[in-house]
């Protein structure tokens, strides 16, 4: 069957379509705000102003974004190998354990710049290890990675509760968390960068993990599109049969991809643990792993898209908190609804408007959809 072969120009594919999806999500969210009797335009102003209006807001937005960049990259790396890693949440949680062990034992001896690299390695190693077990089960036993990684989120939560009310808790404390780290395990803030632009910041947790996240985004791009390993991961991701034909070991590629994914997830813990809280507390990941799935999907599994999507979700987190504060009728749960709508339209219904946009492009400018290149034949 001849199907018209259409391909959108890159700017429409990566810019226009996400923008349209996002706008629709916000329009629907606006109706929800109207339903609870608030003015949606004022709500939008508060949300955006809360996230980007003041220096403190920007710093918080980027702090949340840092977390989501790590989890988004983690999900994306696995997804390029057609592995749906839902275990980012648990891998990040266990990554926090690695950081806790490093910081608690070294924070009185070493300065931050010496502890930081060790903590990065520990976080990555613990996260990778938590990804390794489901990967091994998938590769060797055929246990589906979606099921095992969900289970491992629960196991991670239980392990951490056990440790945080036991071995890791200082004697005599009532709170299920480690002792606060000393200054040696506190990462420097980045607020001064925003202050350079003249904004005032009272106190915000934005720290050098943001830069680490950007470096990792670049390294993930390099890995996926410029290394032999990334090539093999993508080959397996698109067609396991082609990978077999090309001599790529299924076991090795699944385990490697999941360990890299787990390592990125584990590194996410650096941001809240060493950059903000200075301790490891119960449930400190608080759903960032799941948000990572939405971020990765919305970012089209590309590091640039993931950074942008992470900033968007950072904005929703920060602006949403402001909104709940300013408009009492809008509760925290309403913010979750708005986030849910963004995930729905930008993630799940990503391709809903695509056919219409393709038709529009094809009728306005056939050349832009690459139609003269091939003789109208898809097969």
């Amino acid at each position: 069957m001849s199907t018209p072969y259409t391909k959108l120009p890159a700017w429409a594919d990566y810019g226009l379509i996400p923008l349209i999806n996002l706008s629709v999500a916000f329009i629907v969210a606006g109706f929800v705000v109207m339903l609870v009797g608030e003015n949606p335009f004022r709500a939008a102003v508060i949300l955006v102003d809360g996230a980007f209006g003041k220096g403190t807001g920007i710093a918080f937005t980027l702090f949340y974004a840092t977390t989501f960049i790590f989890t988004g990259l983690s999900v994306a790396v696995a997804a390029h190998c057609s592995l749906f890693n839902i275990g980012t949440e648990g891998q990040a949680y266990i990554g926090g354990l690695g950081i806790a062990l490093v910081c608690l034992s070294l924070d009185s001896v070493l300065p931050w710049w010496a502890i930081f690299p060790i903590a990065i390695v520990a976080a990555a190693a613990f996260g990778a290890l938590w990804g390794l077990i489901p990967a091994y089960l998938q590769a060797k036993r055929g246990s589906h990675i979606v099921i095992t990684t969900i289970m491992f989120n629960f196991i991670a939560a239980s392990v951490m509760v056990y440790l945080l009310v036991g071995a890791l808790k200082p004697a005599g404390s009532q709170a299920p968390q480690t002792r606060n780290f000393l200054a040696g395990a506190e990462l420097p803030k980045l607020n001064w960068i925003i202050e350079l632009f003249g904004a005032k910041i009272r106190s915000a947790p934005l720290n050098i993990c943001f830069l680490l996240a950007l470096v990792m985004a670049f390294l993930v791009w390099l890995l996926i599109w410029r290394t032999r390993l990334g090539y093999e991961m993508r080959t397996y991701g698109h067609s396991p049969k082609a990978a077999r034909y090309a001599g790529i070991s299924e076991t090795r590629i699944i385990i490697t991809a999941m360990m890299i994914s787990g390592a990125l997830a584990g590194m996410m813990a650096l941001n809240p643990v060493m950059g903000d809280q200075h301790n490891v507390a119960i449930d400190f990941v608080s759903g960032a792993g799941y948000v990572g799935i939405a971020v990765a999907l919305m970012g089209r599994l590309h590091p640039v898209g993931i950074v942008l999507a992470a900033i968007l979700f950072g904005m929703l987190y920060q602006g949403g908190a402001e909104l709940a504060f300013e408009m009492p009728a809008i509760s925290r749960d309403m913010i979750v609804i708005i986030q849910g709508l963004v995930i729905l339209f930008a993630g799940a219904l990503e391709h809903m408007f695509r056919p219409y946009i393709q038709a529009l492009f094809a009728s306005v400018s056939p050349k832009s959809v690459g139609m003269q290149a091939v003789n109208g034949k898809g097969a």
Binding site: S2, R228, Y231, K241, S249, A373, V374, G376, A379
Partner: protein, 510 residues
């Protein structure tokens, strides 16, 4: 001549800048079999989709039975008595034949009454046209030929007077195809009109009354089948003269490069697929394996290329054994000079979502030429891809284009270029020209013969008997997992056909 069943006048259809159909005029006489031929992408399927209501023409008129009609949906087409048998069957696999027949034509909330009605109607159709199918058989348990029969019955059940068949023999064995042709002839005798879309010229010659040729969206000619030749049709299709049988010199067979001894392969259910097969391939010769699809050829190829586990036997590559446990590293076999063009280029030989240049290194991606340490050497890969595009005339010549957007013939050239340019000692090729246009077939055959003339050992597996006969220096015929005969290149089609059907007559025993 009888009155026209269908008349298309001045049909135009564009997809953006691509004019899939331009000014098409076509007249199909009632009670005839009318063939439409053309290369992939010539616009045949688009034209039929317009007739069946999947697409609307930008301009032009459709007349059915002499009256102008407008066909906007497939329901309109069905109401006008037009039925379509698709290339990829539109059947529900886990439904019975009867359930599939009434699908979309259920007349009641409860199925019972329509099923009873359908059963008697189906019975009548089966008797009238000799289309026997068990109405209670489940589709997925039927062989492909019978599934196609269900598609035809479905169309007839809806009262089709005009049947359109889109590449109906692509999935059939030669015997099943012959049976289909008998059915079509019978339908014609009963007064039905049949439009047959194909790119196989032999079928056109065998069964049609009239044939129309399409090229690049235009209707270039209509001929009475009896008055034309395969050569003329091929020339009309491609727009230039085509060699249907490549010229090749005498082979100069050298030393044994690939040796298969007592190879036995079983599938996952334990059924023997390859049964004690032995043969040698020497340098400088092409050995062709003929056989109806599903007689163990695919499994044989996979075992030799180290992808599939073999139960017993031995395969020697340049005198050294290949690991047959199914755990062989295909990369290592490549290093030892074994190149493999797999049968299924869509899922095995290529990653369709990749750019062309990425596919041009698949399997050789750990070769030092394409790497700088752990990194891909993008410049080297691009230069290499451009080089192959030029040498193999791959079109469009853009190494950044997604592989799925190349035509079948060009996709196959991407695989062949990759495997041949590695300068392998042994080349094994599965279905070298499946789904490939006439023009590209000629090119691929020439390349394979050039490989032979360079002293390489070439093993070709194909279900196209013509291809095997025109390429091979020696022909092995497989039936039910065994090699049932070996013949020279001058073996007649009838002789090979009997062997393929498992009939071992007197001469075969000699």
């Amino acid at each position: 001549m009888a009155q026209a069943a269908i008349e298309l006048i001045g049909i135009n259809k564009s997809f953006g800048a691509v004019r899939a159909n331009r000014d098409i005029n076509l007249e199909v006489a009632r009670g005839t079999i009318h063939g439409i031929v053309g290369e992939n992408g010539a616009g045949k399927s688009t034209l039929m989709s317009i007739l069946y209501g999947f697409y609307q023409a930008d301009s032009g008129e459709i007349h059915v039975g002499g009256k102008p009609v407008s066909i906007n949906t497939s329901n309109d087409a069905i109401a006008l008595g037009i039925g379509m048998v698709h290339q990829h069957f539109m059947l529900v696999d886990n439904f019975t034949v009867l359930e599939n027949i009434i699908l979309g034509a259920e007349n009641d909330v409860l199925l019972k009454s329509s099923i009873a009605k359908a059963r008697s109607e189906l019975d009548r159709l089966e008797r009238e046209y000799g289309l026997e199918v068990d109405p209670d058989a489940v589709i997925e348990e039927l062989p492909v030929g019978l599934q196609q029969r269900v598609e035809i019955l479905k169309a007839l059940y809806r009262g089709a007077e005009i049947l359109i068949l889109d590449e109906p023999t692509g999935v059939l064995t030669p015997a099943e195809a012959d049976h289909l042709f008998r059915i079509l002839k019978q339908l014609k005798e009963q007064g039905k009109t049949i439009v047959l879309i194909t790119h196989k010229l032999r079928e056109i010659m065998a069964i049609t009354d009239t044939v129309s040729v399409m090229r690049q969206g235009t209707m270039v000619a209509t001929r009475v089948t009896k008055e034309t030749t395969v050569g003329e049709l091929a020339e009309l299709m491609v727009g230039r003269r085509v060699l249907l049988r490549v010229e090749k010199g005498q082979s100069e067979a050298g030393a044994i490069k690939l040796s298969v001894k007592n190879l036995t392969v079983k599938d996952s259910r334990g059924v023997t697929m390859v049964d004690n097969v032995s043969f040698d391939v020497r340098g400088g010769e092409i050995v062709g394996i003929a056989g109806v699809a599903g007689n163990g050829q695919s499994e044989l190829l996979e075992a030799i290329s180290g992808i599939r586990h073999a139960v017993s036997g031995e395969v020697m590559l340049e005198g050294k054994p290949i690991d047959l446990t199914g755990k062989a590293d295909p990369g290592e076999l490549r290093d030892r000079g074994l190149a493999h063009v797999p049968e299924d280029r869509h899922h095995v030989g290529l990653v369709l979502a990749f750019e062309e240049n990425e596919n041009s290194i698949l399997g050789y991606h750990d070769d030092e030429r394409y790497l700088k340490g752990p990194f891909l050497d993008v410049d080297a890969i691009m230069a290499d891809a451009k080089d192959k595009i030029e040498k193999y005339d791959i079109r469009p010549g853009n190494p950044r284009l997604k592989t799925a957007n190349f035509s079948g013939g060009n996709q196959q050239k991407i695989v062949l270029a990759r495997e041949m340019e590695q300068d392998p000692g042994v080349l094994i090729v599965g279905q070298p020209t499946r789904g490939v246009d006439v023009g590209a077939i000629e090119f691929i055959h020439k390349r394979l013969i050039a490989m032979r003339d360079q002293g390489k050992a070439v093993l070709v597996v194909s279900v196209e008997l013509d291809e095997i006969r025109s390429l091979s220096d020696r022909i092995l015929v497989m039936f039910a997992g065994r090699v049932v005969g070996e013949r020279g290149p001058d073996a007649t089609e009838g002789e090979l056909g009997l062997l393929m059907a498992g009939v071992e007559h007197q001469e075969a025993a000699e």
